[in-house]
Symmetry: C2
Subunit: 174 residues, 2 copies
């Protein structure tokens, strides 16, 4: 989630252009229509826009980030809304100054290295202490959206590590 | 709604029983039915419990606070979900280290001393800079719930001042 906006916007722009070209040549399949309707329904109840695709280097599956606030003079943190589609998750990572997650939609998973995977639900707040290796994401049967308040006291917000393998995820991903 | 599930289930059970008896004798009035349906919808969509009544010394009208996280070693802030019923608002106040508001439901009002009243809506994030006198609350036609991230760097989170008068509120409370 410590990422630059412009390359992502460029990629999204290209993807959008390709989709527009593709759509003008052939009508969307029924399954696509259903997906679009589902997305529209989601947007009605969603608090924030879904945002831009998060970088595949740091996430497995479809993950979206909508920034809500940048670090300021008063605030030693940035805030974003992160949406994980079913089965999607972050890489293993640590926060040099910690992070707070507030689940606002769906059901997800959270695991600190060496501990069991925990299910996290809408309405729950999770404190990720500094320098603890962990990952979070959606469960396999539900998407999950959380607000992430990422502390940054001069050492950056996130140190990204290796992806969470399917075996690691499946250990608690039911 | 800082309440235990079992007494509520009991009350709902009794209410259901009474309604069933009542329905067999006379149909419920339309207004009662509508109110109940509205309440049920609210409870289904709410992310957090409404919490406990906020102190009348610092708020006008019905305001509720559900704490989500306390200040910790990593986090120089506490987090709460604050629900203002229609027309309710905070006193004028300042934050020695600032505050961030994230509106998650309804429509509200926000005013800094000497500036016009601003309407704030679901999905908006508001940065309250340190030592700026201001107030926030619901609009007169809608309740409002916001997450409040209140910075505390050793000087406390809030300095409370005088109530927002009806005249001050009505200047932008439509």
């Amino acid at each position: 989630m410590a990422m630059h906006k412009s390359p992502i916007r460029l990629l999204l722009g290209i993807a959008g252009l390709l989709m527009a070209i593709s759509c003008s040549n052939q009508p969307p399949k029924n399954t696509e229509k259903t997906n679009m309707e589902t997305t529209e329904k989601k947007n009605e109840s969603a608090i924030f826009p879904r945002g831009e695709r998060a970088p595949a280097d740091y996430f497995t599956g479809m993950v979206y980030l909508q920034m809500l606030a940048q670090k300021t003079g008063d605030n030693d943190y940035s805030i974003g809304s992160v949406t994980f589609e079913r089965g999607a998750r972050s890489n293993w990572h640590t926060h040099p100054a910690g992070q707070t997650l507030i689940v606002i939609e769906g059901r997800g998973l959270y695991q600190e290295k060496g501990k069991p995977i925990k299910t996290i639900n809408k309405g729950e707040t999770i404190i990720c202490n500094s320098n603890i290796e962990h990952w979070h994401g959606a469960s396999s049967e539900s998407q999950m959206t959380h607000i992430a308040i990422t502390n940054d006291k001069g050492q950056g917000g996130v140190i990204w590590l290796k992806p969470v393998t399917d075996e690691e995820y499946k250990a608690g991903g039911k």
